[in-house]
C-alpha cells in the first residue's frame, strides 16, 4: 500500500524530507531532555554534599555522596520520615482497597448488568469529582474535630476513597464493558452461575484495568496534601505533609530537600511509569482510549 503510494505521489525531494524528519526527531529529543532536566538535576543534587549543592555556578562534576539521603532518614538528628512514609502507605493502600470494594460492584451494575438510567448514575459520580473538595473542607474539619477523628489516618482513608471513587467507577465501568456479552451468554448457557461467571469470565478480561485503576487511586492518595495538611497532626502526618517542613528550608539543606522529594516520589514514579497509557485513560475518566 505504502509502496504504491510513494510511487504514485513522489515527494518533491526525498533527501530534504528525510533531513526534515531527522530535524524533527532531534527537536523531540531536545524537548524531552528539557522537560526531564529539572528532575535529572534534582537527582544529581541529591547525591552532592550540601556545600557542593549550594554553589553558583553549580558544580556538575562534584564528588558524589549519600549524605543527603542519610540526613533525610534522620542521621543528623532530624525527625525520621519513616512514620510519615508508613502513614502514607497505610492511607493509600487502605483507601485503594476500599475504593475497589465499592467501585467494583457499582461498575458491574453499570456495565455488565446495567440498571435503568445507568448513564445518569455514571454522570452523577463524575459530577462529584468536578466539585472542588476544598469547599467541603471546613465541615469535614469540624466534624472530625468534634468526633475525635482529627489526626487520625482513617479519616484520610475515608476522604481519599471519596476523592477516588468517581474516577474508579468510571474507569472500571469502561473496562468491564469491554467484556463481550456473547462470552457471558455462552457461559450462562453452559450453566455457569454468577460467581463463576464473575471469577472465570469477567475477572481475567478486566484484571489489567482493575490493576490500572488501583495504581491511579494509589497515586492520587499518595500525592494528596490539602486534606492531610488540615486533618493530620503529629500522629497521622503523611509524606507530603512531611515535605512541607522543607518549604522554608535554607541553602544548607538543598541535597536533603532533593533526596527527600525523590524518595517520597519514588512509589508514584514507579507506579506511573508502569501504567503510562492507563494513567492517561484514567485521568481522562475513560473518555480517551
Amino acid at each position: 500500500m505504502t509502496a504504491t503510494l510513494t510511487t504514485a505521489a513522489p515527494r518533491p525531494s526525498r533527501p530534504r524530507a528525510r533531513l526534515q524528519g531527522a530535524a524533527l526527531g532531534i527537536a523531540a529529543w531536545l524537548a524531552g531532555f528539557l522537560f526531564v532536566l529539572p528532575i535529572l538535576w534534582m537527582v544529581l543534587t541529591s547525591f552532592h554534599s550540601e556545600a557542593d549543592a549550594a554553589t553558583n555556578p553549580p558544580s556538575v562534576a562534584a564528588s558524589l555522596t549519600l549524605d543527603g539521603y542519610r540526613e533525610f532518614f534522620g542521621a543528623g538528628g532530624g525527625a525520621s520520615p519513616w512514620p510519615s512514609l508508613i502513614n502514607s502507605a497505610t492511607a493509600s493502600v487502605a483507601s485503594t482497597l476500599l475504593t475497589l470494594a465499592l467501585a467494583l460492584p457499582a461498575a458491574y451494575a453499570l456495565s455488565i448488568r446495567p440498571v435503568k438510567k445507568w448513564t445518569d448514575v455514571l454522570f452523577f459520580f463524575l459530577s462529584t469529582k468536578m466539585l472542588p473538595l476544598v469547599a467541603g473542607l471546613l465541615p469535614i474539619y469540624l466534624f472530625a474535630k468534634n468526633t475525635g477523628l482529627l489526626d487520625n489516618i482513617w479519616a484520610l482513608v475515608i476522604l481519599y476513597t471519596a476523592m477516588n471513587l468517581p474516577i474508579a467507577v468510571w474507569m472500571m465501568q469502561s473496562f468491564l464493558s469491554e467484556v463481550p456479552v456473547a462470552i457471558i451468554e455462552a457461559a450462562q448457557i453452559d450453566g455457569a452461575r454468577l460467581p463463576t461467571i464473575l471469577w472465570r469470565v469477567v475477572a481475567p478480561i478486566a484484571l489489567p484495568g482493575i490493576a490500572a485503576t488501583s495504581l491511579i487511586c494509589f497515586i492520587f492518595s499518595w500525592n494528596e496534601l490539602l486534606f492531610a495538611r488540615v486533618l493530620s497532626g503529629v500522629v497521622a502526618e503523611t509524606a507530603p505533609v512531611f515535605l512541607t517542613g522543607f518549604i522554608t528550608s535554607q541553602g544548607l539543606f538543598l541535597a536533603k530537600v532533593c533526596a527527600a522529594s525523590l524518595v517520597i516520589s519514588l512509589p508514584v514514579l514507579a507506579a506511573g511509569f508502569a501504567a503510562q497509557d492507563k494513567l492517561v485513560q484514567g485521568l481522562s475518566l475513560g473518555a480517551v482510549k
Binding site: F124, L126, G136
Partner: protein
C-alpha cells in the same frame, strides 16, 4: 435473561401486572451493587457541601463561637468586596487560564513531534511524562529551591555559565511570583496535555491522511483541515480536565509563594481564611463561590465528556 438485556429495552418494556412483584425485586437486586458506592459518595461529598452552604450564611469566627449568628448574604458581599478576597478570584482565573492555555499549546506541539516515527520515541515519551509523575509538592519544592533560588538555583547557574560573572541573577520568585507558580504548573501539566492529544492524533485514520496527500495536500493543509477537526474533542477534553485540576491547585501556591505577592488563589485563600483566620462563615462563602464557578465549568465539561462517551457507546 436480564443480564444481556440492553438498558433501552429494559426501559421500554412495560411491566406486566402479574409479574410486578418479582420484577420489583429483580430491579432491586440489579440496583443493590450500586448502592454502597452511591450512599458513600452522597454522605462523604454532598453532605459537607450542604453544611458549607449553611455555614456560609452565618457570621461565625471559630475564636468567638458564642458570637455566632445568622448573617444572610453578608459573607458573600464581604468576599466580593474585600480587595484580597476579590483578588484571589481574579488570581484563580488568571492562573488557571494561563497554565491551561500554555500547556495546551506546548502539549500540542509535543504531541505532533511524538506522533512521528523516530529513533527512541518511547524513551522521549517516558522522559516527557516524568514531570507529571513527581509528587506535586516535591515538584513545587524542586522549582522553589533547586531551580528558582537566586543564589544557587539552576536557572541563575545557567545564566552564570552563559554570561560569566557579570550575568544578571534575577530573584525569580519575588520579581515574578505568579509567573513562577505558573511555570512550575505548566511544566507539570504539559505532559498530561501531550498524552491526551497524542491519543487523539493516533486515532486518526492513516489511510485518510495518505489519501489527502495523494490529492496533493501539504502538511499545513492536512493539519488545519483534517487533524484539527479530528482532535477538537480531545483538545476540549484536555482543556476542561486541566481546568478542573488546576482551579483546585493548592500545593504549588502553598509551597512556592505561600500565597504571598498576589499569588493566593481561592483554594489557598479558603484554607487560610478558616485555618489561620478562623473565619468559618467567610471561608464557606468563598467555598460556595468556588462551587458555583465549578458548576459552570462542569456543565461544559460534562457535555464534552458525554459527547465523547456517546460516541464510545454507539460504536
Amino acid at each position: 435473561m436480564t443480564v444481556t438485556t440492553p438498558p433501552t429495552r429494559v426501559a421500554a418494556a412495560s411491566p406486566r401486572p402479574a409479574a410486578r412483584r418479582p420484577n420489583r425485586m429483580r430491579a432491586w437486586a440489579t440496583r443493590a451493587p450500586l448502592l454502597p458506592a452511591l450512599i458513600f459518595m452522597i454522605v462523604v461529598t454532598q453532605l459537607p457541601f450542604v453544611a458549607t452552604l449553611v455555614i456560609s450564611f452565618f457570621d461565625w469566627n471559630a475564636l468567638y463561637p458564642d458570637d455566632r449568628h445568622f448573617a444572610g448574604f453578608a459573607n458573600y458581599s464581604e468576599v466580593l468586596s474585600t480587595p484580597e478576597l476579590r483578588k484571589s478570584v481574579w488570581t484563580t482565573i488568571l492562573l488557571t487560564a494561563t497554565v491551561v492555555l500554555v500547556s495546551l499549546v506546548l502539549g500540542l506541539l509535543l504531541a505532533l513531534l511524538l506522533d512521528r516515527r523516530f529513533r527512541g520515541r518511547a524513551a522521549v515519551r517516558t522522559m516527557l511524562i516524568a514531570p507529571f509523575l513527581l509528587v506535586p509538592i516535591a515538584a513545587a519544592l524542586l522549582w522553589k529551591h533547586v531551580l528558582f533560588n537566586p543564589e544557587y538555583g539552576l536557572f541563575n547557574g545557567i545564566l552564570h555559565w552563559i554570561g560569566g560573572d557579570g550575568a544578571v541573577q534575577p530573584d525569580w520568585i519575588s520579581e515574578m511570583p505568579l509567573i513562577a507558580v505558573e511555570a512550575s504548573l505548566i511544566w507539570q501539566w504539559t505532559p498530561f496535555m501531550t498524552l491526551i492529544l497524542l491519543a487523539g492524533l493516533q486515532s486518526r485514520d492513516p489511510q485518510l491522511l495518505e489519501a489527502a496527500r495523494v490529492d496533493g495536500a501539504n502538511d499545513w493543509q492536512v493539519f488545519v483541515h483534517m487533524t484539527l477537526p479530528h482532535i477538537r474533542r480531545y483538545i476540549e477534553l484536555s482543556v476542561l480536565l486541566g481546568s478542573i485540576y488546576i482551579v483546585q491547585n493548592f500545593d504549588a501556591v502553598y509551597t512556592i509563594t505561600s500565597g504571598g505577592l498576589g499569588t493566593a488563589n481561592l483554594p489557598y485563600t479558603i484554607y487560610q481564611t478558616f485555618y489561620q483566620a478562623h473565619e468559618n462563615g467567610l471561608a464557606s462563602a468563598a467555598g460556595v463561590i468556588v462551587v458555583i464557578g465549578s458548576i459552570i465549568l462542569a456543565t461544559f465539561a460534562l457535555r464534552v465528556v458525554s459527547s465523547l462517551f456517546r460516541a464510545e457507546v454507539s460504536r
